[in-house]
C-alpha cells in the first residue's frame, strides 16, 4: 500500500526568504524516514512544499512516479499523500468523529474503504472510538495528536508526512503515538517523519536525514546517525562544522 | 512624498474642469434669441429616482401630458412651453445644484418642484437670490408657512388636511384618538398639526407613536395604542409602511376605525394593505373620485378630462401626485397667459400671485400676497376604502 516519494533539488521559501536550498531526499515504499534538525532548519517548510501548501521555487516532487510539484493541496491529497501538519491544525470546534469524516473528504462519498479505514483508525487509537462525540478542542494534547494522525489516515494515504508529532507531549503519550507509527509502517505505509527529538525519531526510523540551514547536512541509516557526533553538533553547536 | 502629490493632481483636474465649460458657454449664448415662437423655458426638479421616485414619475408623466396638450393647442399666446427636467434622486444637495443649473444655464422662467419638502426647501435660497419662482409639488406645511414671495405650492399642506380629518373624526364621535406617524418630514409635520389642533377639533390624543421608514412591523406601536383604548386610530404616514400599519391593526383584532390623510391616498396602500384597507377612511382632494367635485361643474370636467387623457397615455389612473403636477404646470401656463408686457421671472411671479379662481385638480386656486397655497378645506373630502377602491364616505 505504500508508495515511493522522491524529492529532487527542491527550493522554496516565503516571499524573498529562501528557506529550502536544493533539498533531495527519498522515501522508499513502506519505509519510515526521519528528517531531523534544529529549529528553523526548514523541516516544516519542506513538508509544506511537498503537501502543496507552499509553492516550490524549483525542484520536483514525485509520488509513486507521478509528478505532484506545485499541485494544489486538495489535489495532492487525492494522489494519496497526507500531511499531519505542525500544530495539528485540527478543526477544534468540531467533534472527533467529524474531524475523522472530514479527513475522508478527498474520497468519493460512497467509498467503502472509508468505513474500513475508520475502523482501522479506531483500532489504532481506541481513544478515538470512545471520544467520538467529544469536541476535539477539549481533548488533551496527546489525544489531539492521535486525532490528527487518524484524520490524515482517513484519506487513505500511501505516503504519510508527520510534522513534529511529539511536540509538547508527555513521554508516555509520545510512546503510544510512535507505537502506532511502527504499526502503520509494518502495514506497509511510507512515512516521512519530521522530528526535533532526534534520538526518539532515529530509534523508530529506517533511515534519517539531518537538515541544517535549509539543506541536507547528513544522511544515513538511522542507527548509524544515532551515534554520529555530528548530529549533536547540528543541534548544540560547539566547534565549527567540518563538513562546511 | 506621495501625500503632497495630491496638490499637483488636484490642480490639473481643476484646470481641466475649468476649461470645459468655457467651450460650452457659446452653446448657451446661441439659444437666447428672442423671437415670437421661442418657447417659454420652465425647469422641473423631480425625484425620478431615490426614495420619492414613486412621486416623481407620475409627476413627470402629468407634466409631459399637459405640456403636449398646451403646445398642440398653439401654446401660450403663440409660444410653446418647453420643460427641462432634472432628477434630484431624492437628494437635497442635488435638487439645489439642479436649480442652479436650470436658472443659470437653461435660463428658465420658473421651476416646478421639487417632489419632496426637503428638496424644495433646499432650492429656495438660490431661487430667491436669482428671483425665479418655484412651484412646489410637495405637501410640507413649511413650504408656505415659512413664507417666501418666490415659493408657491400646489398640494394641500397638512395645515389644511389635518384639521379637516380631525373635524371628520370628531363629527363621527371619535373623541379620543391614537396617533401613529412616520418620522419622515410628512409624518412629523402632520403629527405637529394633529397635536396642535386636536383640542380645537374636540378630540384627545391618547396615544402618540412613531415608526421609521424601512420598519417591517408596527404591531408593538399598535399594541401600545390599543392599550390606551382610543375610539379611532389616525395614521399620518407616507410610504409603503402605512399599509403594514393597517395590516397589523387588523391582525391585532383592533376594532377601532382607521383614519388617514393624503399620505395613504395611493393605490399602493390599497394593494399593500389588501383586506385590511377595507373600511379605512382618509381625507384628501377630490381627484380620487371626480364625482366629488359635483357632476357638471367645471372642476368635474377638468378632472375627468385629465383622468381620461392620463389613462389613455399611460394606462393607469392618475394619482394625487399627478394631480399636483397638473396644477403646477397649469398654474404656470395660466399665469404666463395673463402677463402683459415682457415675460420675465419677475412678471411671472407677480402673475402667479394674482391667480384667482383657477380650476385645477387639487382644487380651485386663489393665490395672494400672503397665501401661496391658495387652497382651503373646501377642497377636501372624506373617502372610505371599499371593495378595493375609494368611495365617498356617507
Amino acid at each position: 500500500m505504500g508508495a515511493e516519494l522522491r524529492i529532487d533539488g527542491l527550493c522554496a521559501g516565503y516571499g524573498r526568504v529562501d528557506v529550502l536550498r536544493d533539498v533531495t531526499l527519498r522515501v522508499d515504499a513502506g519505509e519510515m524516514v526521519t528528517l531531523i534538525g534544529s529549529n528553523g532548519a526548514g523541516k516544516s517548510t519542506l513538508l509544506k512544499a511537498v503537501a502543496g501548501l507552499l509553492r516550490p521555487a524549483a525542484g520536483t516532487v514525485t509520488l509513486g512516479g507521478v509528478p505532484i510539484t506545485g499541485m494544489a493541496p486538495e489535489r495532492i491529497v487525492r494522489q494519496r499523500l497526507a500531511l499531519v501538519p505542525e500544530g495539528r491544525m485540527l478543526f477544534g470546534p468540531l467533534t472527533v468523529d467529524e474531524n475523522l469524516l472530514i479527513g475522508a473528504h478527498s474520497r468519493p462519498a460512497r467509498d467503502a474503504g472509508v468505513a474500513a479505514d475508520l475502523e482501522r483508525v479506531r483500532m489504532l487509537f481506541p481513544m478515538l472510538a470512545e471520544r467520538g462525540a467529544q469536541i476535539s478542542a477539549t481533548l488533551s494534547g496527546g489525544e489531539q495528536q492521535m486525532l490528527a494522525v487518524g484524520r490524515a489516515l482517513m484519506s487513505g494515504p500511501e505516503v504519510l508526512l508527520l510534522d513534529e508529532p511529539s511536540l509538547g507531549l508527555a513521554p508516555r503519550v509520545i510512546a503510544a503515538i510512535f507505537e502506532a507509527l511502527d504499526t502503520l509502517r509494518s502495514e506497509g505505509l511510507s512515512i516521512l517523519l519530521v522530528e526535533q527529538d532526534a534520538h526518539l525519531a532515529l530509534r523508530h526510523a529506517d533511515r534519517g536525514y539531518v537538515m541544517r540551514n535549509g539543506a541536507i547536512a547528513l544522511e544515513g541509516p538511522a542507527d548509524k546517525l544515532r551515534d554520529d557526533e555530528q548530529v549533536r553538533h547540528a543541534y548544540l553547536g560547539g566547534r565549527p562544522e567540518t563538513r562546511e | 512624498m506621495r501625500g503632497t502629490k495630491v496638490l499637483a493632481v488636484v490642480a490639473a483636474v481643476l484646470l481641466a474642469l475649468a476649461c470645459l465649460p468655457v467651450g460650452g458657454c457659446s452653446v448657451d449664448g446661441a439659444a437666447e434669441g428672442g423671437e415670437g415662437s421661442e418657447p417659454y423655458r420652465i425647469g422641473a426638479v423631480l425625484s425620478l429616482t431615490g426614495t420619492y421616485a414613486g412621486l416623481g414619475i407620475p409627476e413627470k408623466n402629468a407634466i409631459e401630458l399637459e405640456v403636449a396638450r398646451i403646445n398642440d393647442a398653439g401654446g401660450v399666446g403663440g409660444r410653446p412651453i418647453e420643460v427641462i427636467y432634472e432628477d434630484d434622486a431624492t437628494d437635497a444637495a442635488k435638487s439645489q445644484a439642479a436649480a442652479v443649473r436650470l436658472i443659470d444655464e437653461e435660463g428658465v422662467l420658473a421651476i416646478i418642484g421639487a417632489s419632496g419638502t426637503g428638496q424644495t426647501m433646499a432650492m429656495r435660497a438660490d431661487a430667491e437670490r436669482a428671483g425665479v419662482p418655484i412651484i412646489s409639488m410637495a405637501g410640507g406645511s413649511v413650504i408656505t408657512d415659512d413664507f417666501s414671495e418666490w415659493v408657491f405650492q400646489t398640494p394641500w399642506p397638512n395645515r389644511i388636511v389635518v384639521p379637516f380629518v380631525l373635524d371628520q373624526m370628531a363629527a363621527a364621535g371619535h373623541t379620543s384618538i391614537g396617533l401613529i406617524s412616520d418620522t419622515g418630514g410628512y409624518g412629523v409635520d402632520g403629527r405637529d398639526y394633529v397635536l396642535a389642533h386636536a383640542g380645537e377639533a374636540g378630540v384627545t390624543v391618547v396615544a402618540d407613536e412613531t415608526y421609521n421608514a424601512g420598519d417591517t412591523d408596527m404591531s408593538s406601536q399598535l399594541t401600545k395604542i390599543r392599550a390606551a383604548e382610543p375610539d379611532a386610530v389616525l395614521i399620518w404616514a407616507a410610504g409603503k409602511e402605512a399599509a403594514i400599519i393597517a395590516r397589523n391593526a387588523r391582525q391585532l383584532n383592533m376594532t377601532q376605525p382607521l383614519y388617514g390623510g393624503s399620505g395613504i391616498a395611493r393605490a399602493e396602500f390599497i394593494d399593500g394593505a389588501g383586506e385590511a384597507a377595507e373600511g379605512v377612511r382618509l381625507g384628501t382632494g377630490k381627484i380620487l373620485v371626480p364625482e366629488a367635485f359635483g357632476e357638471g361643474t367645471e372642476s368635474y370636467e377638468v378632472a375627468t378630462s385629465f383622468i381620461s387623457r392620463y389613462e389613455d397615455a399611460y394606462g393607469t389612473k392618475p394619482d394625487i401626485f399627478a394631480g399636483h403636477a397638473y396644477d403646477a404646470i397649469g398654474l404656470v401656463a395660466d399665469a404666463l397667459g395673463r402677463i402683459e408686457g415682457e415675460v420675465t421671472s419677475d412678471s411671472l411671479r407677480d402673475a402667479l400671485e394674482k391667480t384667482s379662481g383657477w380650476v385645477g385638480i387639487d382644487g380651485t386656486f386663489t393665490y395672494s400676497a400672503t397665501d401661496h397655497n391658495g387652497l382651503t378645506q373646501d377642497e377636501m373630502v372624506l373617502y372610505i376604502i371599499e371593495g378595493g377602491t375609494w368611495r365617498l364616505d356617507r
Binding site: A51, F91, H105, R107 | T216, S220
Partner: protein
C-alpha cells in the same frame, strides 16, 4: 401591563427578530467561509421579495414563485461570487468588501429599472383572521415567517452537521489551509456559501413580503439590522446569529413598549454598542482572529 399585552410585544419582537435572524445567518455563512462582511446581503433580501412578486405576476402560485425567487437569488449570489469576487481574493478583504458595496448599489438600481419604483405586494400565504394565543393575536403570516425561519435553521443545521458539504464548510470556516489538506476545494465552498447566504436572505424577503410589501430599496435597512444582529451574537457562529436576531427584534419591540417608539432604533443600537464595548467579540463569540 397585562400579560397578554406583554406577550403581544414579545410576539412582535420575535416576528421582526426572526427576519433579522435569517439575514444575520446570511452574513454569518459568508463571513465563516471568507472572513468578509457582504454588504450586498440586504439586497438578497430585497431580491427575494421582488422576484417572488414578479414570478407571481407571471402566474406562478405563491409557493412556486417563492421557490423560484429563492433559487434565482441563490444563483445570482453564486454568479456574484464567481465573477466579481473570486479573482480578487488575493487582494485582501477590504477590496472584497468594497466590491460587495458596489454590487449592492448595482443590484438595487437594476431592481428599480426592472421592477419599477413603487412598492410591490404579495398575497398572504394563508389569508384569514389572526390566531389567538393566550390573549395575544398572531398573524397567520407570522406563523409562516417563523415556520420558514425554523425550516431554514433546521435545514442549515442539518446541512452543517450531517452532510459532507456542511462539514467541509465548517472545516473551511476554521482553517482554509487545514481544509485544503483534507482535499476540500475551498474556492467552491466560498461560492456555495454565497449561494446559501443569498438563499437565506431571499427566503426572508419572500416570507415577509405579504406582511410588509417590498420594493427595490427594501434591502439597506434590513441589511443594517442583520449585520447588527450578526455582530450582537458574535460573527461567524450561526446559532449566535439567530439568537442575535431575536434579541435585536425583542429589544426594539420592548423599547417601544417601555420607552419610546421614536428612539427604538437608537436604543437597540446603543445597547449593541454597550455590549460590544463590554464584550468586543459579541454575546456568544469567542475571541477569534480578525481578518481585516
Amino acid at each position: 401591563m397585562e400579560a397578554a399585552e406583554f406577550l403581544q410585544y414579545v410576539i412582535a419582537g420575535l416576528k421582526s427578530g426572526s427576519i433579522y435572524a435569517l439575514v444575520a445567518l446570511g452574513f454569518t455563512v459568508v463571513y465563516g467561509s471568507t472572513g468578509i462582511i457582504n454588504f450586498a446581503q440586504g439586497e438578497f433580501f430585497m431580491l427575494g421579495g421582488v422576484l417572488t412578486v414578479w414570478f407571481y405576476g407571471l402566474g406562478l402560485p405563491v409557493p412556486i414563485a417563492g421557490l423560484a425567487a429563492v433559487a434565482t437569488t441563490a444563483a445570482l449570489g453564486i454568479l456574484f461570487e464567481r465573477f466579481a469576487l473570486r479573482k480578487q481574493r488575493s487582494a485582501g478583504p477590504l477590496v472584497l468588501v468594497i466590491i460587495t458595496i458596489g454590487g449592492s448599489m448595482v443590484m438595487k438600481s437594476l431592481a428599480r429599472h426592472l421592477f419599477g419604483p413603487d412598492e410591490l405586494s404579495l398575497p398572504e400565504f394563508t389569508p384569514g383572521p389572526s390566531i389567538d394565543i393566550a390573549g395575544a393575536a398572531v398573524e397567520r403570516q407570522a406563523l409562516w415567517v417563523w415556520g420558514l425561519t425554523i425550516v431554514a435553521v433546521v435545514v442549515l443545521w442539518w446541512l452543517y452537521r450531517k452532510t459532507r458539504l456542511g462539514r467541509a464548510m465548517r472545516a473551511c470556516s476554521i482553517s482554509h489551509d487545514a481544509a485544503r489538506l483534507m482535499g476540500i476545494d475551498t474556492a467552491r465552498i466560498v461560492m456555495v456559501s454565497f449561494g446559501i447566504a443569498a438563499a437565506l436572505g431571499a427566503l426572508a424577503g419572500f416570507a415577509v413580503t405579504p406582511l410588509t410589501q417590498t420594493s427595490w430599496d427594501a434591502g439597506a435597512a434590513i441589511g443594517v439590522k442583520g449585520f447588527a444582529a450578526a455582530i450582537l451574537g458574535g460573527l461567524g457562529n450561526p446559532v449566535a446569529s439567530v439568537v442575535g436576531g431575536l434579541v435585536l427584534g425583542l429589544l426594539e419591540s420592548l423599547s417601544v413598549a417601555f420607552i419610546s417608539s421614536t428612539y427604538k432604533d437608537a436604543i437597540s443600537l446603543a445597547v449593541l454598542l454597550i455590549v460590544l464595548f463590554a464584550r468586543p467579540q459579541g454575546l456568544f463569540g469567542s475571541a477569534r482572529r480578525e481578518k481585516v
